[in-house]
Symmetry: C2
Subunit: 328 residues, 2 copies
Amino acid sequence: MLPIALDAMGGDRAPADIVTGGVRAHAELGLPVLLVGAAGSIAATGANSAGLDVLDCAEVIDMHDDPATAVRRKKDSSLVRAAEAVRDGRASAMVSAGNTGATMASALLRMGRIRGVARPAIVTPIPGLGAHPTAFLDAGANAECQPEWLVQFAQMGAVFARSRYGVDRPRVALLSIGEEDTKGTPLVKEANALLRLRTGDDFDFVGNVEGRDLMAGGADVIVTDGFTGNVALKTLEGGLRAIQKLLLGAMTANDELTAAFDVMWPALVPVIEHLDPETTGGAMLLGVDGVCIISHGSSSPTAVVNALRTAADMVEADLVGAIGKVIA
Amino acid sequence: MLPIALDAMGGDRAPADIVTGGVRAHAELGLPVLLVGAAGSIAATGANSAGLDVLDCAEVIDMHDDPATAVRRKKDSSLVRAAEAVRDGRASAMVSAGNTGATMASALLRMGRIRGVARPAIVTPIPGLGAHPTAFLDAGANAECQPEWLVQFAQMGAVFARSRYGVDRPRVALLSIGEEDTKGTPLVKEANALLRLRTGDDFDFVGNVEGRDLMAGGADVIVTDGFTGNVALKTLEGGLRAIQKLLLGAMTANDELTAAFDVMWPALVPVIEHLDPETTGGAMLLGVDGVCIISHGSSSPTAVVNALRTAADMVEADLVGAIGKVIA
């Protein structure tokens, strides 16, 4: 396999934690990794990156840069170079924990779209009560959508669920404000009608679901526009964080409780890990002509390892080729 | 105070739990309650409703009825009669745990709108890390919105936060997918510009917030369209339920853990109650010419008591008059 281009400069704790993650993925999983970033900064992390190739570049797109402008102007940035490495056949996939908008723009402008794809979409795995996470898209690439795009999101999401979770015939649902086909915005009603026509080809359309179904595990794929998707996803994130804070505060309020908490803690860790976005391998931009993983800005080395593993899995499953076939 | 019209027939456990809640609110809080429903069914609950007036009616709108059709056809239903009682000056407010759409339609068609209000909106209190809940609207009355309506939602939400939480100068935020004014859909961008113009009159506009801010307590009021609002609210509900299930399972997986859990449980109850929508007194339809409380379908007697108390508070605070002044 060609190496996976890892944007060493993107992320809250870049380059140190990113490079460490790359080194670990190489050492523990044998994954070929191409570190993209300023060679001096990478060396200064002190991580033992002896076995990894480095693609040296001078610029960095940071979290505050305007994505479109940054990708146009910072041609020697790690993000742009990582996307070019995939385009030019030097890398099999790209992974970045940097500026999400700029990651999308780099991938879109340098790799281009898969033929027939109207708009790429971000798919995010939502862990919950199901046997595997639910593939949720669009998580924020397209604030406004056409009904036809949501049908493509369903097709791409189904390919993803098949590759990632081994679901033979993914159940696809449409996010709305009631289960009835007649509820929701014009976008939702038209998308519902189109999905009813397309069900059975690549996926089973199981109808509309509500926000309360996102973690219920009743669908393999849930599609929505990028505005609603982003709000819902961040609502879940914020909700989890608030509850965690309230519960931890209550569970350690005095010595007796803290003693009980110490007994409890090892049992809680797997639940917290199960719900942690870091363990799911990050979000992915579907519809561009290459594998592009968008990791959380706060990615730890472990999150980077998981993202690289997911990238490798998606390359080996030929996700891009499979989407091309379904869309064509 | 005129009695509060309580729809005895609406709710998953109606009429028994609803009537019990009405009886308790009367006995414990001295609230005047008008039970609206089939006198026979109310009597059959066995609740001691001796001190309460009953407005006898023959029909019931159930959860599966189409709201508009049901309100038009079932003229002698408890929901329609409850709204008429407010309109006719027989009651000061209405409370229902029944069909949400039909509750809105009854209130809108029988009470009418406050002069100048373009569209009524559902406000829902979201508990979280703040000193009081955040007033969140529109939680589902209007799937599609105009930018000007969101400004009215901000005004009405500010009146609500002032009456309900005693916030002198409510901080109002707009839900979006980034904090920058330039992010989001055209609706969000236009609403942002209008809110910037109106800030300072009745509220302080603090800009855009993201889904992760809903429970953070950084704003007193958060406005959005009814589609996004409904999705976000139900996403939180479902998320809380899923986490509760996962945590409870982990915390009682064996005898040692269960023993620790028994120590912990009394400390967890206040957190669970804090997050429970039942304790916040239910949602409210703002903009109609009367106080209308929309309770959760699963309302227990305690939830009914809280809803009746909230209704009485909002009548005494003259919420409707205050909204009229701000909108005019």
